[in-house]
């Protein structure tokens, strides 16, 4: 027995005076049938060494056959799952349980554990005696057969586990079942499989080995493994004998872990999972530091910049009353990011436009108005493709002599609006996250708006992402984003009636533009509107962004006029175009500062919903306006102030699902007319008559010629 126990345990035994004694006694006095355990343990280790292969298979039924609800099973299964490999160090093993037990003991190296075993060993014996007294079960008395050895070796184990108050009857019952199980398996193994198991380990055995290997896997974090942990936990449980151990097993586990406070060793590789977190934090740090960096010498400039910077926190507060908006900290970061933007560019006016959600990243959009002097680079960019077009045309003209050129000309490109007018009144900057660099969006062209109306695409969050759509979209995602921003602004930017009025002088200056007055200024005499009125009547809200015509511009551009000025060749095209009523009649939309009560309905749905932010305290509530046409567009007004905000996917609402536009009409072939049809080949008769006619003519000619000649001669 002692061979199988680690050295320190042996010492422990000697130290443990009283508890150790019954043990040793049992070893020596083997007459008592109740003490079969120790005897069996002893005996089996002695003579039957080298029977390991036989001993391992019986573990199968132990772990497999039992019904799971039996409390013993957990422990037994665990023990049974120890592969023979580790037990080879031990001098001998016979029955799976002895094996398991030894195995179980092997990794225990702390002093505590050993004491537990010896302590735990004692009560079983007492119990055993009781049992045999009461039940008088026969197996106890005959300990020669292997089954009995099994029973008895198992019995203490069972007891070990089942400290609680089960009646002995129940135990008897289980006992019998165990017995059956084990005997069956033993017979199996003893006779046909004694040799075979050595050659081909059963599936279960492999599974068991895998399980143990898994349990022994050392955690990379703490350096512990579950196997040791479990054995230590059980040790603690058996040591302390808590009531209802199953309820506090988590805490025990925690305690055991806390005892292991080992130093964390250096690893070669650093964890870089959190890297992006640090990266963005580093970027945002500059936002918070920017005030300090600039110093006090730029106060003058700061004054102007302050003017440009909107008070986002204030409007965010109002939007929060309305139940929209971003979190407080994100809003503040955006605030700082806008400050960074106004500090680095010469911006006259800046506004937080909103946030457009994307698949991978989102866009935070800032609407700015530059001071004088900006945008030059962009104009150049736009000119390049036009020049290319001209080059193509010239090339076409060279070929014209031989073959007819294609008649088809792309419908004349409608020029984009100048910056600071129409849809390009403002410049938009976007960034994915506050702290990341702001990117200026290009100016929008009418073609982009027209196509954008026909498609519905999710934004990805990458500005250079190509837009693949059925009517091909001229540009990438930045252009699409810009077009959607223009559409949303035109549709949903509203202000309380009277806040803006048309500036007299400016209006006269810009009379050249046909749609008339397209500029407005803040009304200094604005006295505010009652919040209740704003909620109850939509006519108290007006659009202050120009309507975008179907053409894609805010101000009408007449394509016909233009074409007359240009080459004559385009006359034909112009005529064709003229047939379309679209282009002859000037497209007219609602003028600026039109009340939103005149907005078109979406299939009997009002395009706007107004609400009071709080019904409980109406006197301090604000009016909240929600667009139903552009879900995500909100406006608030407290009577004096107002703000617009958009947050959403950037798509227009439609009760019907999206239908892709119909394919363009197929071009009709050239009508079959005289210039297409050819004559039949001339027949022989026709040729003969023709020839006859020719000859007759010739004769006449000859005569006349002669006459003439004569006449000439006479002359």
């Amino acid at each position: 027995m002692e061979d199988s126990i680690p050295v320190n345990q042996k010492i422990e035994h000697q130290e443990l005076g009283e508890t150790g004694r019954p043990w040793e006694e049992t070893v020596t006095t083997s007459q008592n049938p109740e003490l079969g355990l120790s005897e069996a343990l002893e005996l089996e280790q002695g003579p039957e060494t080298g029977l390991q292969p036989r001993s391992s298979p019986p573990r199968m039924p132990l772990s497999g056959d039992r019904t799971p609800d039996r409390p013993v099973d957990d422990l037994l299964g665990l023990r049974a799952s120890f592969p023979p490999s580790s037990s080879q160090e031990l001098p001998s093993t016979l029955s799976p349980l002895t094996l398991a037990r030894q195995d179980f003991m092997a990794p225990w190296q702390s002093d505590k554990t050993t004491s537990v075993i010896s302590e735990a060993e004692t009560p079983p014996f007492g119990h055993l005696e009781q049992l045999s007294d009461k039940g008088g079960s026969t197996p106890h008395q005959t300990c020669q057969s292997k089954e009995n050895t099994f029973q008895q070796t198992k019995y203490p184990l069972y007891e070990l586990r089942d400290v609680s108050n089960h009646t002995s009857k129940q135990k008897d019952l289980r006992f019998d079942i165990f017995q059956e199980d084990d005997s069956n398996s033993n017979y199996h193994l003893d006779q046909p499989e004694s040799g075979a198991s050595e050659v081909a380990p059963s599936m279960l055995e492999i599974a068991i080995q895998n399980t143990k290997a898994y349990l022994l896997k050392t955690s990379s974090k703490s350096g512990l493994n579950l196997y040791d942990h479990l054995s230590e936990m059980l040790t603690t449980v058996l040591d302390k004998r808590p009531e209802n151990a199953v309820d506090i097993i988590e805490n025990i586990s925690q305690d055991v872990k806390m005892e292991h406070f080992s130093k964390k060793l250096d690893t070669l590789q650093n964890e870089n999972e959190m890297l992006p977190t640090y990266e963005i934090a580093e970027k945002q740090k500059t936002l918070f530091l920017q005030g300090n960096l600039e110093g006090a010498d730029q106060e003058l400039e700061d004054e102007i910049a302050e003017h440009a910077l909107p008070n986002i926190m204030e409007s965010a507060f109002y939007f929060e009353q309305a139940g929209v908006g971003l979190g407080t900290d994100e809003t503040y970061r955006i605030f700082l990011a806008l400050k960074q933007l106004t500090d680095t560019h010469s911006i006259q006016k800046c506004r937080f436009w909103g946030k457009i959600l994307g698949l991978e990243m989102n866009y935070i959009v800032a609407e700015v108005e530059f001071r004088e002097g900006e945008d030059e680079e962009e104009v150049e960019e736009e000119d390049v493709p036009e020049e290319r077009d001209n080059g193509d045309r010239e090339a076409d003209e060279d070929d014209e002599d031989e073959l007819p050129r294609p008649f088809y000309k792309a419908p004349q490109a409608i020029p984009k609006e100048e910056s600071r007018t129409g849809a390009n009144k403002y410049v938009y900057f976007v960034c994915n996250e506050p702290g990341r660099p702001w990117v200026k969006l290009p100016a929008v062209t009418p073609a982009q708006i027209v196509i954008a109306r026909k498609i519905k695409k999710f934004f990805t969050g990458r500005l250079d992402n190509p837009i693949i759509s059925y009517p091909p979209f001229p540009g990438n995602e930045s252009n699409y984003l810009r077009a959607q921003i223009a559409r949303i602004s035109a549709g949903t930017h509203v202000s309380p009636l009277g806040f803006y009025h048309f500036g007299e002088e400016e209006g006269e200056e810009e009379e050249e533009i046909e749609s008339g007055r397209d500029s407005f200024e803040e009304n200094p005499d604005f006295e505010g509107i009652q919040v209740i009125d704003l909620v109850e009547s939509l006519s108290n809200w007006v659009h202050h962004v120009q309507h975008i015509l179907p053409q894609g511009r805010c101000n009408w551009f007449n394509p016909i006029q233009k074409s007359e000025e240009e080459e004559e060749e385009e006359d034909e095209e112009k005529e064709e175009k003229g047939e379309e009523p679209d282009d002859i009649e000037q497209e007219v939309g609602p003028p600026l500062l039109t009340p939103i009560s005149e907005d078109l309905e979406i299939q009997n749905i009002s395009p706007w919903t107004t609400r009071l932010s709080s019904n409980l305290i109406p006197q301090y509530a604000i009016a909240v306006l929600r667009s139903n046409l552009w879900p995500g567009a909100y406006a608030f007004s407290n009577g004096k102030k107002f703000e617009n905000f958009y947050i959403g996917w950037g798509h227009k609402y439609s009760p019907d699902s999206y239908t892709p536009p119909v394919p363009p009409p197929v071009y009709q072939e050239y009508p079959i007319g005289p210039e297409i049809m050819e004559m039949d080949d001339p027949t022989v008769e026709e040729e003969q008559t023709f020839r006859a006619a020719q000859e007759a003519v010739q004769e006449e000619n000859e005569e006349t010629e002669e006459e003439e000649d004569e006449e000439d001669d006479y002359d």
């Binding site: 004998r241 808590p242 999972e273 959190m274 992006p276 908006g325 299939q603 959403g648």
Partner: protein, 303 residues
């Protein structure tokens, strides 16, 4: 025995921790409402302060009156006239059908009847926005075959559908389609019921970015159709629900890491308005729906 020392105070402590742990997880728990709203705020979906305060008050009372184990704030359906605020009561078994309540003013809650398939077919003909009035009736004309003697002819029948019915059906559809939960947050006990996994410590960062670490919060549908090979790698106690990665169409979810990887946000593109958030390595997760209650049928065109 020295083990006695483990007894009474320990169990009391344990009960307290257990209670605390079961609160922390799942959904928009009434108690964790504020934290959840803060986390989901990136989508712009929030509640005004007065709504928030009244929800906190009234949901507590709802929990008491209906004897729910927990009450979750489910979300808000935006109507033209008014909004529906939706809450759900959860019983012990996490996957059991939940009771749904709605309120227009966040104080008075009414219980909705359980959704049936009949309701779904009935309301599938209704399109457009919610009105915000539960008694509003949608009128729908449909052709019905009428047998009169030998003749069979079609007749126009006006069917009236109550908005309340539609509300029930839409909530049920959303729950079935896009209610999600991180892998490992729930586990299946050997006896069948599914309970909150108290040892769930949040997904790791690399897992949080994958759709396969999120499950549909409903009885599995796809799982039965999987081949043995596919099932081989599944852990029966954890993988007992359908994962998101096989959703049709592919790409019906947008996964984003916000606040520099400190927060993962999943947005459903099929039901725009549903936001799921999870802070990796913490127990904070949940979803909230704020939207019009309409399914995005245009999704294939938009990707």
């Amino acid at each position: 025995m020295e083990g006695r020392g483990f007894g009474f105070p320990w169990t009391r402590f344990l009960l307290a921790t257990r209670r605390a742990l079961s609160r922390a997880a799942d959904g928009m728990d009434a108690e964790s409402l504020l934290l959840s709203l803060e986390l989901a705020s990136g989508s712009g979906q929030g509640l005004s302060p007065d709504r928030r305060a009244s929800l906190l008050t009234s949901l507590t009372l709802v929990k008491r009156d209906y004897r729910f184990d927990r009450v979750l704030f489910w979300g808000r359906i935006l109507g033209l006239v008014g909004d529906y605020y939706i809450a759900q009561g959860v019983s012990e078994d996490q996957l059991a059908p939940r009771k749904t309540l709605y309120s227009l003013n966040c104080m008075e809650w009414s219980l909705l009847p359980p959704a049936t398939e009949e309701m779904e077919t009935q309301t599938s003909v209704v399109k457009g926005r919610f009105m915000g009035d539960p008694s509003h009736e949608y009128e729908h004309t449909e052709l019905q075959k009428v047998n009169e003697g030998e003749k069979v002819f079609e007749e126009e029948v006006v069917v009236q559908i109550k908005e309340e019915t539609r509300l029930v059906s839409v909530i049920d559809q959303i729950d079935k389609a896009v209610a999600i939960i991180p892998r490992g947050a729930l586990f299946k006990t050997p006896f069948g019921p599914i309970s909150v996994n108290r040892t769930f410590e949040g997904l790791s960062l690399s897992e949080a970015k994958k759709l396969s670490s999120y499950f549909h919060f409903r009885e599995p549908v796809e799982l039965k159709n999987k081949t043995l090979l596919e099932k081989a790698e599944l852990d029966p106690s954890l993988d007992f629900m359908d994962s998101l990665e096989h959703d049709i169409p592919k790409g019906s979810w947008s996964v984003q890491m916000e606040r520099g990887n400190a927060l993962v946000v999943l947005r459903s593109l099929l039901w725009p308005g549903l936001t799921f958030y999870h802070a990796p390595r913490t127990k904070n997760y949940g979803y909230i729906y704020v939207g019009t209650g309409e399914k995005n049928l245009d999704l294939p065109f938009m990707l």
